[in-house]
Amino acid sequence: MSEVRVLVGTRKGAFVLTSDGKRRRWDISGPYFGGWEIYHLKGSPADPNRIYASQSSGWFGQVIQRSNDGGKTWAPVGNKFAYDGVPGTHQWYDGTPHPWEFKRVWHLEPSLTDPDVVYAGAEDAALFRSGDGGQTWQELAGLRGHGSGPRWQPGAGGMCLHTILLDPKNPGRIFIAISAAGAFRTDDAGKSWQPINRGLRSDFMPDPTAEVGHCVHRIAMHPSHSDVLFMQKHWDVMRSDDAGGSWKEVSGNLPSDFGFAIDVHAHEPQTIYVVPIKSDSEHYPPEGKLRVYRSRTGGNEWEPLTNGLPQRDCYVNVLREAMAVDSLDSCGVYFGTTGGQVYASADAGDNWTSIVHDLPAVVSVEVQTLS
């Protein structure tokens, strides 16, 4: 019997939501790490009982937690994130040089094949790797050192490395994204990197089509089509068919092309989901209607999905890490809101129900499909 485990990170702790394959009744456990900000939790594809969590606090800094039993019990592992060599500077908000300073881990991405290998995306932007289950961390310094680092600048939420995509077809290939620097790719497991932002346009920049400086909010990829990337940029939904070599806009008929989350259907590589948000100065849905938009054509043509979602007086946000899909035959789609709701659809977005509706503000949602 299949089981689904939803890992929810919130501003005040982590929660684990579990259900059988029908996804009608849910058990809620938590809060784990109550009172701490949990930016992200993610399970190892190679050992689903191995889960990593990023626990942080403005008072007490960064802690990394690890579970070896599917989230029932946790133990802190290593939290020493040291930039390689002399950290150097990036641009501050006013354009002046500012030293690189570690603040927190936004994203944890376990290896596809080894439960002890895990990547961490940090603020200030850097990529770290652990080969010992999170006990020790080493920076993959080629990313910051490839040349454009001094021109990176923080977005409103900080200069965070928030997206890490591991290519299942090419073990040396990793995609990452940074707000507000853009997207980058390595083909040699992190030794060397290149910006992959050709085709992005950001009108807030002095040069709107510059090589770096774009505020990429999230990138998604279907594992069977790893050359095809979908991006929710600050404004614009974008698509690349050449592993980031070039991008074209696919916002089409969306009511707003601002947003944070984006994901791909587990079995239909051209079916993608976004949650339009009104604007960067009004972080809530257009018209007070919480709508997921689905495109079955890889972009451009979008349909609103509203059944079970509030269609009036709804002013929550859906953050970049807060959407995920399961891989059951009827693909489940999940997202969390800053109002503390976690919505689930067991039919690819046609109908939605609230699994839980009074959590702290949801920062991240990940799903494990267990058999």
Partner: protein, 98 residues
Amino acid sequence: MIRVVLPQHLRTLAGVQREVNLDVAGRVTQRSVLDALESRYPMLRGTIRDQLTQKRRPFVRFFACEDDLSHESPDAPLPEKVASGEEAFYIIGAIVGG
């Protein structure tokens, strides 16, 4: 025996009660107390002082004998009553934010 009182979140993280007792070799200073604390509870590394610079985290404060010692040198001797175990060394999360 040095008595150290931890804030609630760090008690939970370390799996200890409100107060922990530590043996500190040599001079009793902020640095030697925190070294002993982190040696016994490694999960606290980085939560009270920065892992790399060893500087006190901005929203963590140190108190003892009704004095704020947060800005004292980490190598200054702590009050005799702390060194003797009569008074506790308090590590406190500053009251900021929500």
